[in-house]
Structures are given as structure tokens and as C-alpha cells.
């Protein structure tokens, strides 16, 4: 990068007179619709983009007018309310769909800022950005995400019915005719049953994945250690695992965290190369977020798979060797991301360690930064 030479900076030192002219240049040429209104809501200044909203024959009826009658009554009522808000509180901001005087329908992000002029009167500066395409894309994306969730839900739900029917028929053949079946057929029946169980697990996990963020989880205060122990006791039933966990009273979305912990603990046990081992869970409070770490002394995961493991249906071993839907970590990631957190695999020589970051402060920020 070039360094700024002193002469470059000097060129920006324009006089006060030039400054005013420069401001006009800026105002006039900005692509946003910019205007100034006085305290009786009349437009006293507008740039060419703003004027272009009006048909040519009425453009001389803009400056000095409220132009309210050029809009649909409902829409005008709304933007006048925002005008008032800006005059009273100093600032207003809204995303609004407006029918322009030339009959185009556009969606605008309009920010209004109050200021005082040398004459002592207050005005508002309005800057409206056309966000029609952006809003349309957001809406499309939202809809297609909803459709996808809905599809996954319907697919997994409807696929379960015939699967249950197959499971029943197989068990009936087994019950009624086991003694008449040759050994080979019985072996194959066992294989059919195990595949039915696998598919049931797959469909259940798909259902969970599609529904996971549908129920909003409220924050509640709880003991982190108790939650970890509770989840551990649910999963670690016939194996000898030691669990260590630090204590911290936290205020988080308990049910959502529980699902993540349950999946991580279950993985640590399931994928361990021995039927016994150690799991360590820690939580630390940082500025604005928590760091949760789940570490085991199992075989570890090759770092080259560090992102693949979070994808849907990914398993690192054939399912005949290790049962699993390949959805567990995808669920964890989906949940963490939903609450503006994340989950990653930590690269380390022994065992596996997952790091979950989870915001402790509300992440809902105003969508746009305010003009000062």
C-alpha cells in the first residue's frame, strides 16, 4: 500500500466556502433519496434522486410543499409519524414500502435526523436508501429456508410411517414363523431389523434437525455442572466413563445448551476406542460470551475433517462399524449458530476437544448504525 504523501492530504484542505459547495455536490449526487423538511413538514431541500420520484410535470411542486397528497393516505400517515418522531426524539429509522408519485412501489430504509440551523429553527434531514431488491432477497431466502425445514419435517415424518410398517411385518414373520425359517433367512432378518433401527434413528435426527430452532428457548439461570451431570447420566448407561466438570451459575438458553452437551457427550462415549475413558467439561465466562469446552481422551479426529464433521449425514466410519446418523454435530452447529454462537474442533495431539462459544449478552442489535 502506498503511503499518503503530505501533498495528498493538503489537497483535501478545502476552504469553508469550498466545503459548502462540496457538501452540495455530495447531497446532489448521492444515490439515496435525500431531503430536508422544516417543522411544518414541508420539503425545503431535496436532491435530484428525490425529485426523480415525482413525474416531471409536478417536480416544481415539491420544494415548499409537504407532498403528502402525492402518496397513498396510509403510507403518508406512516412517514409523517416518523417525521414527528425525528422532530421529538432527534432520530427515527424505518423500513417502509412506499408507492412513489410516479407509481413505482419500492421498499426504503429511511433515516431521519433532527438538526438545528443557524436561523434557530429545527429541521430534519432524511436519507432514504432503496432496499427493495435486498428486502425481496431476504424474504425469498427466509421463505426457502422455511420451505426446506418444512420439507425435511414432512419427509422424515412421512417416511417413518412405512418404515414402522416394515418393522412390524418383519417382527410378525419372526414371531409367527421363526421355527420354519432357515438360518440364513433369520440372519438376514436380523440385518433388516438393524437397518430399520438405523433408518429410524436417521429420520428421528432429521426431524430434530428441522425442528431444533422452532421452539424459542428463553434464558434461565441454572447450574452448569448440574446440567452436564444430568445429560451425562442420561447417556452413559453401561460404560465406565469418568466425568469432570467445573461449576458456574449461568444465565443461558438451558434447553438448547442441553441438546448440544448431550450430543457432544454421547459422541465422546460412542466414538471412544475403549469402553472406559475420561471426559472433561469446562465453562469460562469471557466478555460478552461463554466458552464451553468438551474434551475426551478418545482416538481424536484428524484435523483435515474439522469442518466436514459438522456437515449433515457425515460420518468418519462406515455405519456398519459405528452406528450413527451423521446429524448430531450438524444439530449442534445449527443450534449454536442460531444463538449467534459457534462450535469448532480444537486441533490437539490427543483425544478430541470441542469448543462452543455462546453469547451471554443479547445479540439483537439495531439493524443499522445510527447517524451521529
Amino acid at each position: 500500500m502506498d503511503k499518503k504523501s503530505p501533498s495528498d492530504t493538503a489537497e483535501f484542505n478545502i476552504s469553508a466556502y469550498d466545503q459548502a459547495e462540496f457538501n452540495d455536490l455530495l447531497f446532489e449526487n448521492m444515490p439515496d433519496y435525500a431531503f430536508v423538511k422544516n417543522d411544518s413538514f414541508k420539503i425545503v431541500k431535496a436532491n435530484s434522486a428525490f425529485l426523480s420520484m415525482y413525474p416531471t410535470n409536478i417536480r416544481d411542486k415539491v420544494i415548499g410543499y409537504t407532498t403528502v397528497e402525492d402518496y397513498q393516505p396510509k403510507e403518508a400517515e406512516l412517514f409523517l409519524a416518523r417525521d414527528k418522531e425525528a422532530f421529538e426524539q432527534g432520530y427515527s429509522e424505518t423500513v417502509e414500502t412506499i408507492t412513489f408519485p410516479d407509481h413505482r412501489i419500492r421498499t426504503l430504509l429511511t433515516r431521519k435526523k433532527r438538526f438545528e440551523a443557524i436561523d434557530g429553527r429545527t429541521y430534519i434531514l432524511g436519507i432514504a436508501t432503496d432496499v427493495t431488491e435486498r428486502e425481496e432477497l431476504i424474504e425469498k431466502l427466509r421463505k426457502s429456508n422455511d420451505d426446506l425445514d418444512q420439507f425435511a419435517y414432512m419427509a422424515s415424518h412421512d417416511l417413518k410411517a412405512p418404515l414402522t410398517a416394515i418393522a412390524k411385518l418383519v417382527s410378525w414373520i419372526d414371531e409367527d414363523h421363526r421355527s420354519e425359517l432357515p438360518v440364513g433367512a433369520i440372519e438376514n432378518f436380523e440385518l433388516i431389523k438393524s437397518r430399520i433401527n438405523r433408518m429410524t434413528q436417521l429420520l428421528n435426527d432429521m426431524l430434530t434437525y428441522s425442528r431444533v430452532n422452532q421452539t424459542p428457548h428463553e434464558k434461565e439461570e441454572f447450574s452448569f455442572k448440574d446440567l452436564v451431570l444430568e445429560q451425562f447420566d442420561m447417556i452413559c448407561i453401561d460404560k465406565e466413563f469418568n466425568l469432570s466438570c467445573c461449576e458456574l451459575i449461568v444465565s443461558l438458553q438451558k434447553d438448547a445448551i442441553a441438546i448440544v452437551l448431550r450430543n457432544l457427550l454421547a459422541n465422546a462415549i460412542k466414538h471412544h476406542h475403549l469402553d472406559h475413558g475420561n471426559i472433561d467439561v469446562t465453562i469460562e465466562e469471557k466478555k460478552g460470551f461463554y466458552l464451553i469446552k468438551v474434551t475426551d481422551d478418545g482416538p481424536g479426529i484428524d484435523p483435515q475433517y474439522s469442518s466436514k464433521i459438522f456437515e449433515m449425514f457425515q460420518t468418519l466410519k462406515p455405519r456398519d462399524q459405528q452406528e450413527g446418523s451423521g446429524i448430531g454435530l450438524a444439530i449442534c452447529k445449527k443450534i449454536a449458530n442460531h444463538y449467534a454462537g459457534d462450535i469448532t474442533l480444537i486441533d490437539q495431539p490427543n483425544g478430541t476437544s470441542f469448543l462452543v462459544t455462546w453469547p451471554s449478552v443479547p445479540t439483537q442489535q439495531p439493524p443499522f448504525k445510527r447517524i451521529k
Binding site: K160, A161, T164, A165, A167, K168, L169, S171, W172
Partner: protein, 138 residues
């Protein structure tokens, strides 16, 4: 005490129907099961009085032509039929479905998923219920 348990089973799925019949047989309960494949069929059977009273209805919710909830609506608005005892047996654990069903005065709501693949639990409950139940005669 009642004699054999009479059931009108409103169920569109053949395997589920077979499953329930099997469960009754397993419990050695001698009973008469009449099957309707959906709400419309069930209404026809009830209005033709094909089924000998007393009986109870086991109702699936998701069915073609007339769903379980639509069937409940029709029954409860029919002066001739509105005293029928109905149990819901469905895969839907949707809270709305449960609430709506109870508002139509069902006697109980069973989930297919939760009751194992054989419906033995449901059959046991219905059998015990039937033994001590008093229903309006005629």
C-alpha cells in the same frame, strides 16, 4: 359388567389395523372389531347402525376424505351419535391436535409412537376400561 369389547376402528393404514387386531388376539380378548377406512366410511357404518351397541370408537386423525378431527366435529353435532365414546390413536403429538380432540370430548388420546409397535398398552387400557364401564343402553 360388559361382555365382549366392541370396537369401531377408524384407521386408514392396513398395517396399523392388522397390528391392533394382533394385539387383541395376543391378549386373548374376544372382541368384535369393525373397521372403517376413514371418517366418511365410519359415519356411513354408524348411520346404517351396522355396529351393535354398546361399542367404543378408536380413531386415527390423519386420514383421507374425512380426517379424525372432522369426524369428531360431525359426531358431536349429530343428535343421534353425539354420545359415542371415542378414543384417539394417532402418530400426531402436535399440541393443537391434542387440545382440539379433547375439546370434542374424547375419552383419551393415545400416541402410536409411544405405545410400542404392538398397541398392547392401548388394548390393556381399553379392556380394563370396558370391564367396568357403564354406557347408555340402546
Amino acid at each position: 359388567m360388559n361382555h365382549d369389547l366392541n370396537v369401531l376402528l377408524v384407521e386408514d393404514d392396513d398395517i396399523d389395523f392388522m397390528s391392533i387386531v394382533r394385539s387383541f388376539k395376543k391378549r386373548k380378548i374376544l372382541n368384535k372389531i369393525t373397521r372403517a377406512i376413514d371418517g366418511v366410511h365410519a359415519l356411513e357404518l354408524l348411520r346404517e347402525e351396522t355396529i351393535t351397541k354398546p361399542f367404543i370408537v378408536l380413531l386415527d386423525l390423519q386420514m383421507p376424505r374425512m380426517s379424525g378431527l372432522e369426524f369428531l366435529d360431525t359426531i358431536r353435532n349429530d343428535d343421534m351419535l353425539n354420545d359415542i365414546v371415542i378414543f384417539v390413536l394417532t402418530t400426531s403429538d402436535n399440541e393443537q391436535d391434542i387440545v382440539k380432540s379433547y375439546k370434542k370430548h374424547i375419552a383419551g388420546y393415545f400416541l402410536k409412537d409411544r405405545v410400542s409397535d404392538q398397541f398392547l398398552d392401548v388394548v390393556d387400557v381399553l379392556d380394563g376400561y370396558w370391564r367396568i364401564l357403564q354406557l347408555p343402553k340402546g
